[in-house]
């Protein structure tokens, strides 16, 4: 029985002591076929994945800028001037070559008027980097919408930044100047204040800091632009 068990362990696999050449050739062949299969799957799924990502981006941009129906990607050059990144109004996919802090989404409403900008920003949260998108209206200098794109905050506590009604609501009309501040232990009084969520103070502050830092950087650039009237 012992001898049989040894054979059994090897089972139907090809006998041992195969030549090195055979081992290398088998592995190379397996790698080759695996590569062929993966190329096929990648080519088949890539268009769907790109369109999913574009659809998710479109939903988010139109959500954070109320009234917007279309948007285009603008890129800030070294001199701070914005140029359209793409001639089309809708972007199939974000160009990964453009670093995030240098790009904004310019939106238009149904009459074709500019209604504000959607801006991506990120920063450290409680657990991991929080990535978010917010709407900025340079004419009034206010944040007009917020959506968390990715976060790994504590479920049930920190992740309330994504759905706590009062917290999300306070980003619908939030003055950027003077600098946005997070307040605790008392209700917000001024238009540049955000109430922290009970039990999620660190995550709330993180979101406020990300939006405050990014909006303070972008507002002068975008406000100057809308005053010039240059498109």
């Amino acid at each position: 029985m012992h001898g049989a068990a040894n054979v059994g362990e090897r089972g139907d696999l090809a006998p041992g002591h195969a030549s090195s050449l055979r081992l290398v050739a088998t592995l190379a062949l397996a790698g080759f076929f695996s590569g062929v299969v993966l190329c096929g799957v990648y080519l088949a799924s890539a268009p769907r994945i790109a369109s999913n990502r574009a659809a998710a981006l479109e939903r988010a941009v139109l959500e954070v800028v109320p009234g917007a129906v279309a948007f285009s990607l603008m890129v800030a050059g070294a001199d701070g001037r914005l140029t359209p990144a793409d001639s089309s109004e809708r972007i199939a996919d974000v160009d990964p070559q453009v670093p995030e802090p240098a790009r904004v989404y310019a939106t238009r409403d149904a009459r074709g008027e500019r209604v504000g900008y959607a801006i991506e920003a990120q920063g450290p949260g409680f657990m991991d980097t929080i990535r978010l998108l917010y709407g900025l209206d340079p004419a009034t200098g206010t944040v007009i919408g917020l959506r968390i794109l990715a976060s790994r905050e504590t479920p049930g506590l920190g992740d309330k930044i994504m759905y706590d009604p009062a917290f999300v609501e306070s980003f619908r009309a939030l003055s950027v100047e003077p600098e946005i501040v997070a307040v605790t232990r008392r209700p917000r009084r001024r238009s540049n204040e955000v109430d922290c969520i009970g039990g999620a103070t660190i995550s709330s502050r993180a979101v406020v800091q990300i939006v405050a830092g990014s909006s303070a950087r972008w507002l002068p650039l975008l406000a100057g632009r809308s005053r010039d009237g240059t498109e």
Partner: protein, 234 residues
């Protein structure tokens, strides 16, 4: 004593559901059983993805078993498994983007699930494709069942919902800890206790005796012994 082929396949399929359940009996694949079971929906998607990888890998390994040199079997198994995992990862991103975002890196980590490599080593590389498929389906379903149970407990207590639907009404205060990592350990520990109590009771009643062969093997974790020693004298 040799059972008919369909009968044997049925036995191999059924053992994964309960008797040799990969999570409750063999205690394999616990990383996903903890990490993605904070909701029932996540648990079901993870179970389905793992089952697909397990069945696909087992079929390929079983079909190629006579061509695989013994010395390099593990890297070959991993190449096969990794190919299926990457395919599932891309397919989920294309077809179920929301679920894909929720599960994140844990889909790619299926490749490290010892349940899958374990079945290639212990079963698929030693059996005909029919039996290997049956074994993989059974193990995959058993894994999905276990994840779904953990996910049900955690979502019910941690959020008061099931598949996103409120169950306990607005007065229920969620036990947030059940959604956090400790809740995963609590839930799995409790389910392990319950499952081993049931197994012990059944064993005392002797309902299992037919399954265990004349060599006097004690009912134990996932049978990794050579196939000849399991199904009775061949």
């Amino acid at each position: 004593m040799e059972q008919s082929e369909p009968g044997r396949a049925w036995v191999e399929l059924r053992k994964g559901l309960w008797r040799d359940n990969p999570v409750f009996v063999a205690v394999l694949g616990l990383c996903p059983a903890m990490a993605v079971t904070n909701s029932l929906a996540n648990a079901l998607v993870m179970g389905a993805a793992t089952t697909f990888v397990l069945v696909g890998s087992s079929v390929v390994v079983s079909l190629l078993r006579k061509l695989i040199p013994y010395e390099v079997r593990t890297p070959l198994f991993i190449v096969v498994v990794a190919t299926f995992v990457t395919s599932v990862d891309l397919a989920l991103a294309a077809l179920l983007p929301v679920a894909h975002r929720q599960l994140g890196a844990f889909i790619a980590l299926i490749v490290a699930n010892c349940l899958i490599l374990g079945r290639q080593e212990a079963f698929a590389s030693k059996h005909r494709v029919g039996l290997a498929t049956a074994d993989a389906i059974g193990m995959g379903l058993g894994f999905t069942l276990a994840l779904a149970l953990v996910g049900t407990v955690r979502e019910l207590l941690g959020g008061g919902t099931l598949l996103g639907w409120p169950v306990f009404g607005p007065s229920f205060e969620p036990w947030v800890i059940m959604l956090l990592p400790p809740g995963g350990f609590f839930s799995l520990g409790a389910l392990l206790i319950v499952s081993s109590m049931i197994a012990e009771r059944r064993q005392r009643r002797g309902t299992h005796s037919a399954q265990w062969n004349a060599q006097g093997d004690a009912p134990g974790p996932l049978d990794l012994s050579p196939p000849g020693s399991r199904v009775g004298p061949e």
